[in-house]
Amino acid sequence: MESHATTFGVHNRKMAMWVFIASECMFFGSLIATYLSYEGKSLAGPTPREILNIPLTSVSTFVLLMSSLSMVLALDAVQSGNRRQARIWLGGVIVLGGLFLGGQVFEFNHFYHEGLTLQQNLFGATFFVLTGFHGAHVTVGVIWMITLLVMSLRGKLGPDRGLDVEVAGLYWHFVDVVWIVIFTVVYLIQ
């Protein structure tokens, strides 16, 4: 599949993904700004210090970082025409992304049973909206990766489709860098 180059010498789809990522920076920037603006202003508990589970989230963070490694190795395999490796690494992204989401579901469920809900306090409202939107992005990414894996299993993901995987990879890595910021700002700097 041949894409037309823009005047910048970059594929239209790749440029479109980068523009989308730039807009997503502003979107997540607004959510992080809201979280930080209301930080420490909750009138009732639970507070971040009481409820956040750093060891669990550290493991989740490591899992998401390793999913980025798997993604970039999948792209490398697709571009070099190694279908078996491409399937393995795409599968890796799906499994690691699924593990991250599983950790988030566990965390949300635990918080809910500890009394932290969207309506409980400002921390609950801003925390669930920020991390929930991030989780939704990871979910979209996992669905995207499953689509690519199915394409690969059907033999439709050769080197000529490298751009498709690269664009999907850009999205996945962006979700990763957003989590790098969230992990530091929300979990570690309390």
């Binding site: 910048f8 970059v10 607004s30 750093i54 980025s68 490298g162 751009l163 890595h173 860098v177 910021v181």
Partner: protein, 108 residues
């Protein structure tokens, strides 16, 4: 770091080698462990915010440069991404200033 050329439909583009990707992943893992370690060391609590922000920025840059290929891609893509980050940073600082999280009214 070793680099290899990769040809994609419509244009040649240099990417990092597999060994580089593994090395970056190792560094990212070490930086994450450092972040968590700093969180649990009481002696470092006075410098925890700048320390964690620097580590976070380093991880962010490594992923963007190597995994997102900005180091090897056209500079215009870095400009587009940096534009979004600058606007996001201004939004965060402006909101925090307006709500008194930073600046003269902080902590009130």
């Amino acid at each position: 770091m070793a680099e290899q050329s990769t040809h994609e439909a419509g244009g040649a583009q240099a990417h990092a080698s597999k060994a580089t990707y593994w090395l970056i992943a190792l560094i990212l893992g070490i930086l994450t462990m450092l972040e968590v370690a700093v969180f649990y060391v009481p002696l470092l609590h006075s410098v925890i915010v700048p320390f964690l922000l620097v580590l976070s920025a380093a991880k962010f840059a490594l992923v963007a440069m190597f995994f997102m290929h900005l180091k090897f891609d056209k500079p215009v893509l870095t400009t587009v991404f940096a534009g979004g980050i600058v606007v996001a940073t201004v939004i965060i600082l402006a909101m925090m200033l307006l709500f008194g999280a930073i600046g003269p009214g902080a902590g009130m």
